[in-house]
Symmetry: C2
Subunit: 354 residues, 2 copies
């Protein structure tokens, strides 16, 4: 308790990002980064860019990147918002679409940052329990009386709803904003809900460059929605920080979006590795949720998850473990390269056989 | 009015950043950028960096950059906070040190973003009038009953308070946080108030890489303060967006801080150009405030400021004009290169002789 801090700064329990240890080199399967580098055109564009211009502010509206995203996703620049990572867009969304005290709905297991935002902005969170198998019952989300956040695929389960299911939720909540957080959608074999934004004025869809675009290090997220929703996000952004995206991030984003072949290749590789890893873990006695993301959420029939996490860490392999009640016997494993996953499986074999 | 937006997103009047026109090439003297490129080591470090690592999240704590700043400013990493531009640190400060309804003091002419933040976070702003000559009377800021923001040098006047005057204000407000926004301090011939943070636990000092470090395009700001204040900022940041600084901005910042010679050279050049421009404008009938920043705030005895602004714009020179009452007969002119300022002066001569 410090007398100079606001009650919020004194009391809030911040989000805990995944470990970024500096003590030694790990096989990092803990923060859902891509195991593959960004498109080679990212390097080329940045290395050959005009460094003298770094003295100048970037375009606050990030128009050139919006143009490329609009082209790729068959929409218009005015339906796009760019943020400093999708987390920034989430934060702005809590400010743009909710007043203090408003109810906000999301699953009881999902990206844990939502609860932090609800606390930061004094919202009244209502957590809707998942079913016992960790799936979402979409009937729980129909005809609600306030805004809804759904991560699709969900985190940390990786389980996803089809586009048809998402549309049912959006359609039945005409007076409530529905925000679909699609950080992992590119790994799901299904279409993004961004295809629905012209049809529904209550739908915001958030994506990121951090996973399927291999650019976690450059901090870029984007959102699709009706112009009114985008304007709401802009009103908050321009009242908070006008220039959140720097010049080199803009360049990186443009090249990553344009290189569709590289994107498809890396996503396919990750999906293939994921499906292979699923099979191997099942053979070793794991319950493996049907993840459509770039990670697996798994639980072993005999060995407790925290033990697996700690033993892997000792062996130089980092996975994510959440102490939270319902999921405290699960570990979340990011899909790495085939080679990294072989090493992981070899280690797991030793751990579960004892 | 849109039914999905929060009352804030519907009603707030956002900050208006300086024009970034795309219609033609201007001599840009409107957003206080440096006319000089960043240190050549910035280019070298980025072009030679490991682009494969852009797939990985950056260090959320930005430790390596803090280390360099700590060395340069003779302080400790735990006394430093890094933000995505100083605007982000300002925004976090409003959240970390003020509760809804709290009073907040600043001069009635200053960086206009402060008022936007007060509105965004529902603070009770108290604007203390400047004296008729646009200077601050420090007695107005002694023994107040709530937190204080002072831009030093002030914007858009460029007038500054000495370190001794700042200390008097800080000392007399032991129970209130005093935030000194030093975006332009390096152009002031005076020491940063960061030298006082070990002595006063109520002092936060904010600086930026956007002006004297020639890196507006990379979005980097930093703050100095007692560990408790820094912790307050961190609590807010980790509840808002864990990774606000990307990998290449970190590299750019490190090189810009390390290249002390380049920093001193460019700052000296800008100061020299500023003092020459002051003299010339005075000879042309301008009232020139005693700016210690990288811009001048000037008013002509015969020609109205808005006319000057518009005619300069027609001629391809952008300066900043604020329509606000008290200062509506002033233009703010960023100091460019000697060559740019010669062109500016030639144009001004034509405009004021008619």
């Amino acid at each position: 308790m410090n007398k100079f801090l606001s009650s919020k700064a004194n009391s809030i329990e911040p989000y805990t990002p995944g470990e970024q240890p500096r003590d030694k080199k790990y096989i990092k399967l803990n923060t859902n980064e891509s195991p593959y580098p960004p498109s080679p055109f990212v390097k080329k564009a940045i290395a050959e860019s005009n460094f003298d211009d770094l003295r100048l502010y970037p375009d606050p509206n990030v128009y050139e990147l919006k143009k490329e995203i609009a082209k790729r996703y068959n929409t218009k620049e005015n339906n796009i918002f760019i943020g400093n990572g999708s987390d920034e867009i989430l934060a702005f969304s809590f400010m743009a679409f909710f007043d203090k005290g408003d109810k906000i709905y999301y699953p009881n297991i999902t990206y844990s940052f939502y609860s932090v935002y609800s606390s930061l902005f004094d919202l009244n969170e209502v957590k809707i329990p998942l079913k016992d198998d960790f799936t979402i019952d979409i009937n729980d989300y129909k005809n609600l009386d306030s805004g809804i956040f759904i991560a699709n695929p969900n985190a940390p389960t990786g389980i996803y709803l089809t586009l048809t299911q998402i549309e049912e939720i959006v359609k039945s909540n005409k007076d409530n904003i529905v925000i679909i957080d699609e950080a992992y959608i590119d790994f799901a074999f299904d279409e993004s809900a961004s295809s629905l934004i012209d049809k529904y004025d209550n739908l915001l869809v958030i994506q990121t460059f951090s996973k399927s675009r291999c650019l976690a290090g450059m901090r870029l997220g984007f959102a699709f929605g009706n112009e009114n929703l985008i304007q709401g996000l802009k009103n908050i952004k321009y009242s908070f920080n006008s220039y959140t995206i720097n010049r080199l991030s803009i360049l990186a984003g443009i090249e990553a979006i344009k290189d569709e072949k590289y994107f498809k290749d890396t996503v396919s590789k990750i999906i293939k590795t994921r499906e292979n890893t699923k099979k191997e873990l099942k053979l070793l006695g794991f319950n493996v949720l049907d993840s459509r993301s770039n990670f697996l959420f798994v639980s072993h029939k005999n060995v407790f998850a925290e033990d697996i996490y700690l033993k892997l860490k000792d062996n130089g392999i980092l996975v994510r473990y959440f102490k939270s009640d319902i999921i405290n016997n699960y570990i979340r494993v990011t899909i790495g390269t085939d080679e990294e996953m072989s090493t992981f499986i070899e280690n797991i074999k030793q751990i579960v056989k004892n």
